[in-house]
Subunit: 342 residues, 2 copies
């Protein structure tokens, strides 16, 4: 591999001049520039990223931190990884995947190595030790998701509050007054600290109350089998509910299949809206579910943008952004039944 010095020699200029030419960091006469460019071309020269990083103090590498034991990988996660990696590339950065357990210590291993210019954190808990660790360090970071207290923190998150309200409105507008919110995880203690679940539950409670609706909450495993179990539990314990907010995408096909098995017709008896999922998954259920689509691509893109902004201008106002879910109607929402028929 040719070095900058090789280029300088061939072009009969100094090393510095080659650098100035490449980086446009100082004026270079067009004659010199032409010589340098020819030499670079002849040698197939490419700037070495490591030498450059050491001299600049910038590696142009970002890390994407996420739990190694991801409770469940949705296609949403992949879309997210990919859009983040893509946006990083577009902006001249590289994205390193950094799976880790929830210990805060692994964070400092990363930030202290000097390998990365910034950290993007996924799957944020309301009270996240990793965020505390990052906040104490010198490496810029941004969150996908958000902690309870977002003061001084850059983040991009789904606007779960608005999303849940939106779903409730869509159901109540069709006459549904008795709703259930179904989320993932085995019990509330496990996921109680997980932002999306906590925020959805809170909003669901507040909005149903405020609108004079009846609302209850169920939790199940994030699998089709979990969905079947949920359907049986639902049939047994919530005979009067006609509207479901399903924030547990992987359980959807099983939930719907089992509901039909126990005698419900969808959407004649029960209307269902899947929340923060994708059309890909929603269409695996039969009928295809209405879904408020998690803006995975956008989150990845905006997350990277927020992080780079943080890196470039440490004093500018903090990027904090909530992103909306878009709606895909599917075939799982209808008017509330006049009278429950089983």
């Amino acid at each position: 591999m040719a070095t900058m010095q090789d280029v300088a020699n061939l072009a009969n200029v100094s090393l510095a001049t080659v650098s100035f030419t490449i980086n446009n960091s100082k004026p270079v006469s067009s004659k010199t520039r032409a010589k340098v460019e020819k030499a670079m071309k002849d040698l197939g020269y490419r700037r070495n990223a490591v030498g450059s990083a050491l001299a600049r103090g910038r590696t142009h590498v970002l890390a994407l931190l996420y739990p190694a034991l991801q409770h469940r990988f949705s296609s949403t996660s992949v879309r997210f990884f990919t859009s983040a990696a893509h946006q990083a590339r577009l902006r001249g950065y590289n994205l390193v995947l950094w799976p880790m357990s929830n210990e805060a210590e692994a964070v400092s291993e990363l930030t202290a190595s000097g390998l990365v210019d910034g950290v993007l954190l996924m799957e944020v808990q309301l009270d996240d030790p990793r965020v505390v660790e990052l906040a104490g360090g010198a490496v810029p970071f941004a969150l996908i998701g958000r902690t309870r207290d977002t003061k001084g923190i850059s983040f991009v998150d789904v606007d779960f509050e608005t999303t849940v309200e939106n779903a409730i409105d869509r159901l109540s507008r069709r006459g549904h007054t008795n709703l259930v919110l179904i989320d993932g995880g085995i019990g509330s203690q496990l996921l109680g600290g997980y932002g999306p679940v906590a925020r959805a539950r809170n909003t669901f409670g507040e909005v149903t109350l405020q609108r004079g609706l009846v609302g209850s909450v169920m939790s199940g495993l994030e699998t089709p089998a979990g969905g079947r179990a949920l359907a049986r539990e639902f049939a047994a314990e919530h005979p009067d509910v006609t509207g479901v907010l399903l924030m547990n995408e992987h359980s959807a096909p099983g939930f719907v299949a089992e509901l039909k098995t126990v005698g419900y017709a969808i959407p004649q008896d029960i209307s269902i809206i899947s929340i923060a999922s994708s059309v890909d998954i929603a269409s695996m259920a039969d009928p295809e579910l209405a879904v408020l689509i998690s803006p995975a691509d956008e989150l990845g893109r905006l997350g990277v943008d927020a992080l780079i902004e943080r890196i470039d201008e440490r004093d500018k106002p903090l990027p904090q952004q909530l992103v909306q879910c878009s709606y895909s109607p599917g075939h799982s929402v209808g008017p509330a039944p006049k009278k429950r028929t089983r």
Copy 2:
């Protein structure tokens, strides 16, 4: 951030000695070692990865190259990303995600930058321009998947040949003699060059012939809607088929649902084995499909191992490995019906 020089100063030894201590690259007296370790601890010293990389000529960064416009992201891909990243970490490497279009030029942009020690290539085509590009360069690489000609190339791949044969055997053992292979992609021209599809088709053709079975091939979109269309096409054009090898995981729920709609019972009328998919996806269909599980975790792990082996010992025999799919029975396989009933 403290540097090695800071540590040396505090410990009253030379920079070199600190390096020897950290890397165990030369004998150091236990007394000196203690001094250095204390200084490191007091300063919270961490070796700077960039300085180290420049001096060693090794960055300990690997790149995972994959198509930016992935035709469809399976949960298998995520598992794969994650297990690769995890294994890289375990072995002291970092994994950079490098989404790219299929142009070979983007490959050299990566390898010439000096940022990565090796490249792992996903979604390999039978004749892949990126492989040609990599083979011409100096950066070690390994494939997940394989080209037509694997001479001189390290790879890890699913043993599709054995997998398809396995599926055929499982069906023919139950009396099925008339089979269809369903794969993804719109037409054969699009996916004809894609290894898994090509190998599955070849093997399917050979084995059915050899066993005296009737075999035909269908292709559809990799979505539930595509699956529904496939089911209708299947019912219309293959009335005598009783066994299906489905290598198109995302179409599975729609395929099964629509089959039932047009009057088939599963597995009474039709037996289905999903190939190179996951239990996660297979269980989204109702009934849950039998599946030959794509060993995504293993591929990620072995791919990274193969690559690192290639980096460490450029002369050793090339790692080339085929990995088997394991079988999960599901509820979609039964004996061939005596007489077709619709």
